[in-house]
Every structure is written in C-alpha cells, then in structure tokens.
C-alpha cells in the first residue's frame, strides 16, 4: 500500500512538472540574440530560454546537463546554423531525446536559411584550424542579415502555432521596422569609419565589416580556435604598422593580454565589443548590443 502511494505521488510530481506552462510555445535558443528575436516575435505566446547567457564564446557554450530537460520539453530549438554550435548542440540534442527538435524536423529552426555565407572554405582540413565547413557563421553581427533570422523564427512560430499567425507577423514587421530605423542610424554613425581597418581576436566580424564599409584586416588567433604563436603576433604587428590599422577589437570571452600588447605596439586603440547580448554588462537586447558596438567604434574613431 505504501509503495502504491509513493508511486502515485512520484508519478504526479513527474507528470505534473511536465505539464507546467504547456500553453505557451517553448522555445530554446542557443544564443541570446536569437532569444531576443524570439521574444520580440513570439510575444506572450512563447516562453523563451537561451542556453548561453551572453558572456560565452558562441562556439563554446558549456554542455550542462541542466540544459537536457529544457531541450527535452522544447517545441523549437533556434540556432545560428553554419555549424556555429557544433561543439555543444549535437550532443545536447541527442541527450534531449526530443524528436521534435532533431535536425531536419520542424522544431529545428536553423536561422541561417536564406543567408549566403562568406569565407566558405575550399577544403575542410584541420590545418586551417577549427574550420566551419559551411562558411563563417557570425552573420548575426550584420543587422541586415539578422532580419533574415527574425523572419525564419517567425516562420517557425507560425508553422508551430498557425492560430497566432497574425500576432507573429505583426510583431515581426514591427521589430523589423524598428531594426530598419536603427540600421539607418548605425550606417550614419559609422560613415566616418568607411575604409578604416581593424583586427579582432576571432573571425567574428566579416559580415559586420562588409555592411558598414570597414576593412577587416585580420585576426589575432592564428586560425579559428588556435591560439596565436609568437611569430604570428610579430607578423600581425608588423603588417598593422605598415597598413596603419587603428583599431584592435577584443571579444570579451578572450584574454586581454595579447590584444593589449598588439594595441600598445601598433598604437592602435583597443576596444572590447560583445558578440551577443549579455556579453557586456547592461546590454540585454540585440539593438542595445548593436548600439553599443556602433557607438564604441564611432567614439574610438572620433578620439
């Protein structure tokens, strides 16, 4: 009798927790910018969680077992794509036992759909480092391409809950209109930086540079995922001096020592720029993040 009672209580707890918040669409995003988009488009119809908090490297979000129950109950998993999350997402998806969100299933929302990648490698050889076979995955730093991600998220939400289509489309259009306004502002703010060269720690910025007319000069990393060697640092400093590269960008998840050394030796200005919302304090949304990036660069150029 006692065993029967315990079993009943156990099942009630297990099944009860599984039913909580069943009314909302459960969206799990890999990164915080995608979570921001999903919240803006989904509104009150969605419950959004991001695996990353914003301070992580986009390729190195720790695989916490606490993510597994989240993914297990998710209706949608929203990802950057182009293999950006290859180091943690495939294993997490497998552990989640959730058929809805596996690759090529409706709940697997690859936001790179419709985006033409840059820097697609000619071969996938590790002599090129931790190379991304489908091309550079950091398109979210181009706000025009980010609109494609917003559109893809909207399409997935509509497919999941067609009854809310009008709301999702309205929210999407409002958000994109807001983004369009900001893009005009950002372009104006960065106009003085057209043709200005910069280096960064990791290859995060080719889409950003192309959009705003800046020149992406190189990376501090020897190859993607490979720490710089002394010779590489020496060569980079020498070529930066020759080409008068005035800005060194450090993404917050990378150590400051080498970027600082390079900035000091070349006379360039060192700036720390986030790669997703939450990357620096008080920056919680995508628009806030882009504002921060644009204003930091514009201020640097003005000095």
């Amino acid at each position: 009798m006692k065993i029967k009672l315990l079993l009943t209580v156990f099942l009630a707890v297990v099944l009860g927790t599984a039913q909580v918040n069943a009314a909302k669409i459960r969206v799990v995003t890999t990164l915080t910018d995608l979570a921001d988009f999903a919240r803006n488009v989904g509104g009150d119809h969605v419950e959004v969680r991001s695996l990353a908090t914003g301070v992580e490297d986009t390729h190195g979000v720790p695989m916490k077992p606490s993510f597994v129950p989240l993914l297990n109950r998710a209706d949608l998993v929203v990802l950057v794509g182009f293999d950006c999350e290859h180091a943690f997402l495939p294993a997490l998806l497998e552990a989640s036992r959730n058929p809805r969100i596996q690759y090529d299933h409706p709940g697997y929302v690859d936001c790179s759909k419709g985006i033409a990648p840059v820097e697609v490698p000619k071969s996938t050889d590790h002599s090129e480092g931790d190379v991304h076979p489908y091309g550079n995955p950091h398109y979210m730093l181009d706000p025009v391409l980010a609109k494609t991600a917003v559109t893809n998220i909207c399409a997935a939400l509509v497919a999941t809950a067609p009854e809310y289509e009008a709301d999702f489309v309205k929210n999407r259009d409002a958000y994109i209109a807001k983004l369009d306004g900001k893009i005009t502002e950002w372009k104006a703010d960065l106009a003085p930086l057209k043709g200005v060269k910069f280096v960064s720690y990791h290859e995060h910025w080719p889409y950003f540079a192309a959009r705003f007319g800046m020149v992406y000069f190189g990376t501090i990393e020897l190859k993607p995922g490979i720490d710089p060697t002394p010779r590489h640092i020496e060569n980079l400093i020498s070529s930066m001096k020759e080409e008068h590269v005035p800005i060194v960008v450090r993404e917050p998840q990378f150590p400051e020592k080498v970027p600082m050394l390079i900035a000091r030796q070349t006379g360039a200005r060192l700036v720390t720029l986030p790669i997703m919302p939450g990357g620096v304090p008080h920056i919680k949304t995508y628009i806030e993040m882009m504002d921060y990036i644009v204003h930091t660069l514009a201020d640097t150029a003005a000095k």
């Binding site: 599984a18 908090t53 992580e56 077992p65 297990n72 180091a87 552990a95 036992r97 489908y134």
Partner: protein, 470 residues
C-alpha cells in the same frame, strides 16, 4: 560695359587714323567733328541693340531648358513603376537560393558517408625496476608503446537509429604484439518514445564516470587502478542497455543493461548460458547547477553477475591457493565538482573528480596442493580522486590520487600518486607528461614503482565529443 566699348571704339578710330595718315582731329573742320560724333552714336546704339538681342536670346534659351527639364520630371513621375516582385516570385527565388546553399552543403560533407576519424596514442615511458600494481611484471627501463590506433566511424542508420564502430589496433603492454580488435560496434535508437534510448551490440556499458571513456579521453595517462582491477579497464560489454531520461525539470538519468561480457571478463562466443550467468549493470546519475560557473554531477552504479562461471582463476601470493570467481558484485559512487566559468571556459576551468568502488566478489578457493576447496567472499574497496586545473587554452595540470584493495585479498593495498601536465597544442594534438609512483604493501607481492610517461595523442578526420565525453 558701355564705357569699355566706347573706349575701344575710340581707340580703334585713332588707330585707324594713324594707319591712314589722316590729320589730327584738332585740325579738322566742325562739320567733320559732328559727323564723327554721329557715327559714334550710331555705333553705340547698334551695340546696345545687339546686346539686348543677345540677352533676349539667353533668356529664351534658359526658359526652354527649364521647360524641357520640367517635362522630363513630369514624365518620370507619371511613368508606370517597375514591375513589383510578387510573393510567389520571391518565394521561388528564395527556394532557388536555398537549393544552392543546400547543394553546397552536400558537396562539402558527403552526407551519406559516415563521419570517420582516427585517434593515435603513443606513450614514451621510463619505469623503475619494479612491478606495476597489477603484477604483470614490466622489466623496467625505457619503452615506446603505441598503445592504440583507433578508427571511429559513425552515422545515422535510418530515421530511427544511429550506428558506430570503433576498431582498435593496439599493442600488448607486455609482449608488444599488435592486435586488431573491434572495441565497439553498436546501434542506438534515436526516436523511441518516453525519453528512452536503446543501445545494443558491443559497446562501453554505462558504469561509473570514467569506465566508459576511451583511454585517450582520460584526463591522465593511465586508467585508474581500481577501474583496471575491479572492472577490467574499459566497461566493454556485449549486450544491450536502456537509458531513460526522467521527464522532470531536474536532470536525472537512469541506465540499465546486461551483457555476456563486462570489462575484462571474457565472453565465450557461441557458448550458451542461463540468464543467471549474465552481467547486469546500471547507473543513476543527476546534476546540480551550484551557480552559473559551478557544477556538481553525482551518480551511483552497480554491476551484478549471479554466476560468473568460475572464471578469473588466479594463483594467490601464498603460491598454493587458487581463487576462481563464482559471483561478481560491484557497487560504485561518483562525484564530480567542476568550475567552468561561462565567459572563458576555454581558457580556465577546475575539475575535481572522485569515484569509489566496492567489490564483493565470491570465489571458490582451491588448494593446488590437493586440499579441500571452499567458497569465500572478499569485500574490497578502492577509489581515485583527481584535480585538474586549466589555466590557458593549451595548458592544464593536475594530480591523481589512487587507493586500491586487492579484490581477491583485501589485505593487499596499493597507493598511487600521479602529478600530470597537459599541453593541448590544439584540439587534435595533445602532449601529456606524467609521473606515477605506486606504493603497494607487502601483502600484494608487488614492489613500489616509479614511472615517467610522455603521452602523445593525435586525431585526424572527424572527431566530436558526445554527451558521455563532456
């Protein structure tokens, strides 16, 4: 303008007079002066008329130009706009772009081929003139040991399962003879309902924390002594296991399985046995986020074989007693505390891993001198604890402590101490330097041993860390 023209005209006339040798004006009569004045006036009037006429022409041309420009603007404003893109056309264009991108992806990754990778592991070592803890008797001195070359292939079988194979070419530690061994060949379901996963074939059964990890993925050079002796190295099994993820918000995972082999206990292929002579194993594990950066994982494991078939007969240190295992019972508990800072986890982390195992095997003791046989149960325990600190993307170091009671004679105890330093040149190329001192007591029959290892691990081709290797 008029003044300049008059001056010019006057000048012209003077010049004209000089050229014609005419007399100076002062010497001319009054009628002639009047005539000249009239001519000048007429020329001035003519010039003024011409100037006015040209001004009128300029104004007319300007008006005409403005009119033409206005007409063009009006035409541009009233002309129909360029044909707008219909949603259908946009969708078709979008699909074409997607097709191009998808085709590109297929070209790059050969989707129907399995992901294939090779892991090589070479160990350079210098041992003192002692015996290793398990008593197999290294001669001591320097050795280069190609411990393994592991070929991995994995792919989806169909929409319902994935499969993988691990073929290992390894050298025997004592003889150096190379053998090719199928380490794993298994199929795992991917879409069972109820959060269930079924694995079948030959695979590393889930027991403890490091038993199902391949050698090259260990945080130190050698598998801890307690896993080597109580399990028999890797937890290789031939059988099946079911894994269940609890449908709760808190992570709890349960695995149960069975196999005709587990660890080093050999499987007599083709021989039949009762269900009572099969290894049953399982593990229950959970996890806690202590904070954003601190993680705690815990698990309990069990292994039970009611009738292990009188295997593993071993002559004891007394030289006359042989023990053969009749029942196998093993319990384990593992705990791992990790500091994994979210911001720079690739550059900084701390891991404290612990595992305790209790072996309660039953043996048949027989006297080789002809005495009577009797049954005996030996309770023994062993453990390992390690601390690894990573201070850069490439460098980490740590310390491994081990304690082991012999599972056939708990009076025999061995301690192990191993500091290690790892240089991960890249994710696929890693060097590790380790010193190990093993201190067995006299009851084991072994001598203390000192060893220095330099392990070089390299990976080519596809390699991804699965959930278990996280």
């Amino acid at each position: 303008m008029t003044v300049l023209a008059s001056a010019w005209m006057a000048g012209t006339n003077v010049l004209h007079a000089q050229e014609t040798n005419e007399p100076a004006p002062a010497a001319r009569p009054a009628s002639e002066v009047e005539q000249l004045k009239r001519q000048l006036r007429e020329m001035q009037e003519t010039f003024a008329r011409q100037q006015a006429g040209q001004q009128q022409q300029i104004e007319a041309l300007t008006k005409k130009l403005d009119a033409v420009a206005q007409q063009q603007t009006a035409e541009a404003a009233t002309s129909p706009p360029p044909a707008s893109v219909t949603p259908e056309q946009f969708k078709k264009l979008d699909e074409k772009v997607d097709d191009v991108v998808a085709a590109q992806k297929k070209t790059l990754t050969s989707e129907f081929n399995p992901a294939i990778g090779v892991v090589g592991e070479t160990i350079f070592s210098q041992q003192s003139k002692g015996s290793p803890p398990n008593g197999t008797g290294y001669p001591g001195g320097f050795d280069v040991f190609q411990r393994s070359v592991e070929l991995n292939a994995t792919a989806s079988v169909d929409p319902f399962a994935k499969g993988w194979v691990v073929i290992n070419g390894s050298a025997d530690a004592a003889t150096g003879e190379t053998s090719l061994d199928v380490e794993e060949a298994a199929l795992q379901t991917t879409s069972l309902p109820g959060n269930l996963t079924l694995t079948a074939g030959q695979f590393f059964g889930e027991f403890g924390r490091l038993a199902y990890i391949h050698d090259h993925e260990l945080p130190f050079v050698n598998r801890p002594m307690v896993l080597d002796q109580y399990i028999g190295g890797e937890s290789k099994t031939v059988g099946a296991q079911v894994n269940w993820l609890f449908p709760t918000e808190h992570y709890i995972n349960l695995t149960t399985g069975f196999g005709t082999q587990f660890g080093d206990e050999p499987d007599a292929a083709g021989s039949y046995r009762s269900f009572g002579a099969v290894n049953y194993f399982g593990r229950l594990s959970t996890y806690f986020d202590l904070s954003d950066n601190w993680q705690l994982e815990a698990g309990v494991s069990g292994l039970f074989n009611p009738d292990s078939g009188n295997i593993n007969g071993a002559l004891q240190p007394d030289g006359v007693t042989t023990l053969t295992e009749t029942k196998r019972q093993l319990l384990g508990g593992d705990l791992r505390l990790s500091y994994v800072p979210l911001r720079d986890n690739q550059f900084n982390s701390l891991t404290w891993g612990n595992e305790v195992l209790y072996s309660d095997n039953h043996y048949l003791a027989s006297n080789t001198g002809g005495g009577s046989s009797f049954h005996d149960a030996v309770g023994a325990w062993g453990m390992y604890s390690y601390l690894t600190y990573k201070w850069s993307r490439t460098w980490s170091g740590g310390f491994l402590f081990e304690y082991l009671q012999n599972d056939q004679d708990s009076a025999g105890q061995t301690y192990g101490y191993s500091p290690y330093l790892t240089w991960a040149i890249s994710h696929w190329n890693q060097l590790r330097l380790q010193y190990t001192h093993t201190q067995p007591d006299a009851a084991t029959g072994n001598k203390p041993n000192d060893a220095v290892y330099l392990q070089w691990i390299w990976i080519i081709g596809s390699h991804s860390h699965g959930w278990q290797q996280r």
